[in-house]
């Protein structure tokens, strides 16, 4: 098939920038990466891009296709050609471009380093026996552990675009990978650190990271898990945390958001007074609903009782999000149709391997 590509060429040394069009003859199974290889081999050897494994493991070939970050080795070009599209290929966003499709990953790694991406077990002496962790406890960080550091989530992060110091989705998801690890002993210090300015409360919830991640990490959900863990550990001084807490208070007292009190509850009284002029402008248009009498939902006692009830059931923190991941995972892998079936159900299939969780159940491992 004939594949057309428009590629943004760029040289940071000269500042030259140009959109060049190429056409290559590629087999039907070709990926975007295969097509770039053909461009480089047959048309222009000066084209720069990163690649290594060609199978979505190494995370090297992150780039933008029509403005959205993708792994070039993951995108099959057949459908694109069938639609008659000539996609625009460019370097990822939110990172400085070195040449053509190659970005400088240094800011990415600096943020990664900033979340201390290694286990801190905090014991003085090595334990006598191996620290075996129950599968259910590792499931909490299953998604975060899938990250291959490709940077696709960072590319379109709206908060980072406006605040380049924002730790961002990849580093925060990595942070959750260790906060949620039962072997790590630095949970509170981590949550304190990640709750600082440019940390977890700076996420604007645009969900571009979840949309772009090629591995199903869902970094926005990881950030929400960090928020939930911070709350669980009483780390709630940040304005973002206070903002979130006020929604909980509202839901269990009046049912509906107590909108007018949200500003002083988030920013404190002093900052709110500075906002008075702005607030008056809004009040004139009816945008500042009077807090009294409060707008109370009918049967609000039910939502109060629900709060008290769930707080006794031990699903505080990230566990409240993790419990929904099984259902969310089904959309990704399209399991609905073949629910309950495994590759080992066929008569002539290989014997089913021994799963760690079963071993734990049979041996009573609980740690």
């Amino acid at each position: 098939m004939q594949v057309g590509l428009k590629i943004w060429r760029y040289d940071s040394k000269t500042g030259d920038r140009a959109l060049r069009e190429y056409e290559v003859d590629a087999p039907e199974e070709a990926t975007l990466l295969d097509c770039l290889d053909l461009v480089k081999d047959k048309h222009d050897g000066s084209l720069a891009y990163r690649k290594s494994c060609r199978m979505m493991i190494c995370g090297s070939c992150g780039m933008r296709m029509d403005g959205g970050a993708v792994l070039a080795c993951r995108v099959r070009m057949y459908d694109v050609v069938q639609e008659g599209r000539v996609p625009v290929i460019s370097a990822m966003g939110n990172l400085p471009i070195v040449k053509d499709l190659v970005v400088d990953m240094d800011p990415f790694w600096q943020k990664m380093r900033a979340v201390d991406p290694y286990l801190q077990p905090r014991y003085d002496q090595a334990q006598e026996r191996e620290n075996v962790v129950a599968q259910a406890k590792m499931d909490v960080i299953h998604k975060e552990s899938l990250c291959i550091n490709c940077g696709c989530c960072v590319s379109e992060c709206n908060s980072m675009e406006s605040d380049p110091d924002f730790l961002g989705p990849a580093a925060l998801a990595k942070g959750m990978r260790f906060v949620g690890d039962p072997r790590d002993g630095a949970t509170v210090e981590r949550l304190e650190k990640y709750s600082e300015p440019h940390g977890l409360w700076d996420c604007t919830r645009c969900y571009f990271c979840n949309e772009r991640c090629p591995k199903g990490v869902d970094p926005r959900d990881a950030i929400a898990k960090l928020g939930a863990e911070a709350m669980k550990n009483g780390i709630d001084r940040d304005m973002g945390a206070k903002h979130a807490k006020w929604f909980v208070t509202s839901a269990k007292t009046t049912g509906w958001l107590r909108e007018t009190e949200l500003v002083p509850k988030t920013q404190g009284i002093v900052s709110s007074i500075k906002e008075m002029k702005f607030a008056m402008g809004l009040a004139l248009k009816g945008k500042v609903p009077p807090p009294f009498p409060p707008h109370v939902a009918a049967e609000v006692h039910e939502s109060r009782a629900l709060f008290d009830l769930v707080k006794t059931q031990g699903r505080d923190g990230a566990a409240g999000i993790v419990q929904g991941e099984k259902a969310l995972g089904r959309i990704e892998s399209h399991h609905e149709a073949s629910e309950g079936r495994t590759p080992y159900d066929e008569a002539d299939s290989a014997p089913r391997p021994f799963l760690p969780s079963e071993r734990e159940e049979s041996e009573g491992v609980t740690s």
Binding site: D66, G67, N158, S159, E161, S162, D163, W201, D202, T204, R205, C206, Y207, E211, D218, A224, G227, A228, M231, D238, M239, G240, H243, A244, K245, W246, F247, V248, A251, G255, W256, L257, T266, Q267, F278, G281, K285, G286, K287, V288, H295, A297, A298, V300, S303, L306, L309, R315, D316, G317, A318, A319, G320, I321, Q323, G324, K326, A327, I331, E332
Partner: protein, 293 residues
């Protein structure tokens, strides 16, 4: 007339009452009878999902349960954030039997009916751009007289697309089709699918304003007479925080921001008392003037 359970959410009940009023006025014209849910609460707006996620799931299950109790198969929302929160919870409850059982036991204990998973959550935008689009075309007879409208989608009606799935999250077209059906001209600009900054506008105002200025500036440069959004949170930041952008940058955009139901409402001939433009911070008068010429 199809009956729909209607969840208006916090803002349409309070600071964005004009959204509720115009939605109620427009719905019967496009073939819907809205049944308002009385004893429901806030969906948690992403904040409860982050602070107390287990409680978030219960609150949303309770809303879905009361929607189911109306006998309707559709729960209609008018806010992006409500749409994501409810669809996410609904998906989890529908697919995971164990999870649904546990939450239903809790609901029952506090006197809420069990949720059987029979409701679909749909935003008003999806209804009028989808199943009732033909009706919309006949209703919008007064037209927008070629007014240039910049569609602003916001985030949580497009992403995560695995939970939304109505249209391509990178190349959505529902608002454009509605604008054209109403006799307006849809303006294209890159930031129409980006964030308005609202979730962090109180805790991180500088970052939020740097996000907010992009769609307004781009819509302005593309020659838009007004912007339209399906989300009251986007509406609030685009409309009310323009004065802060002016203070920060010196640029007075004076860009009128319409709720989706107001834009269609104008074309469908809703009255002033149904549109409630007086409740906007940025004046909509220039739009009204262009339409009355």
């Amino acid at each position: 007339m199809k009956k729909l359970a209607y969840y208006k959410g916090c803002l349409a009940s309070l600071s964005a009452k004009e959204l509720d009023i115009s939605t109620r006025a427009l719905a019967p014209k496009v073939g819907y009878e809205l049944i308002e849910l009385e004893s429901v609460t806030c969906c948690g707006a992403g904040d409860i999902h982050e602070a107390e996620p287990d409680y978030y799931l219960h609150l949303n299950a309770r809303i879905l349960s009361y929607a189911e109790a109306t006998g309707c198969d559709t729960l209609m929302t008018v806010c992006n954030v409500c749409t994501l929160n409810l669809r996410q919870a609904n998906h989890q409850l529908k697919i995971d039997d164990d999870l649904r059982d546990r939450i239903n036991d809790n609901l029952e204990q506090v006197g809420v009916p069990r949720y059987n998973g029979t409701v679909e959550v749909k935003h008003f935008l999806w209804l009028i751009a989808g199943e009732s689009f033909d009706t919309l075309q006949t209703v919008a007879h007064k037209g927008l007289k070629g007014l240039k409208i910049a569609p602003f989608y916001g985030c949580q009606i497009l992403r995560p697309s695995k939970l939304m799935g109505f249209e391509d999250p990178d190349k959505p077209s529902s608002l454009e089709r509605i604008i054209e059906a109403c006799g307006g001209e849809a303006i294209d600009y890159p930031a129409k699918i980006k964030c308005c900054g609202f979730p962090i506008i109180q805790a991180r105002e500088d970052t939020a304003l740097a996000e907010l200025i992009q769609p307004i500036e781009q819509a302005m440069e593309a020659g838009a007479d007004a912007m339209v959004t399906p989300c009251p949170l986007c509406h609030l930041s685009l409309d009310a925080w323009q004065s802060k952008l002016k203070k920060q940058t010196g640029k007075d955009f004076a860009m009128p921001i319409l709720h989706l139901s107001q834009l269609v409402g104008v074309a469908a001939g809703l009255t002033d008392s149904e549109l409630k433009f007086k409740r906007h911070v940025v004046s909509v008068d220039p739009v009204i003037e262009k339409l009355s010429v």
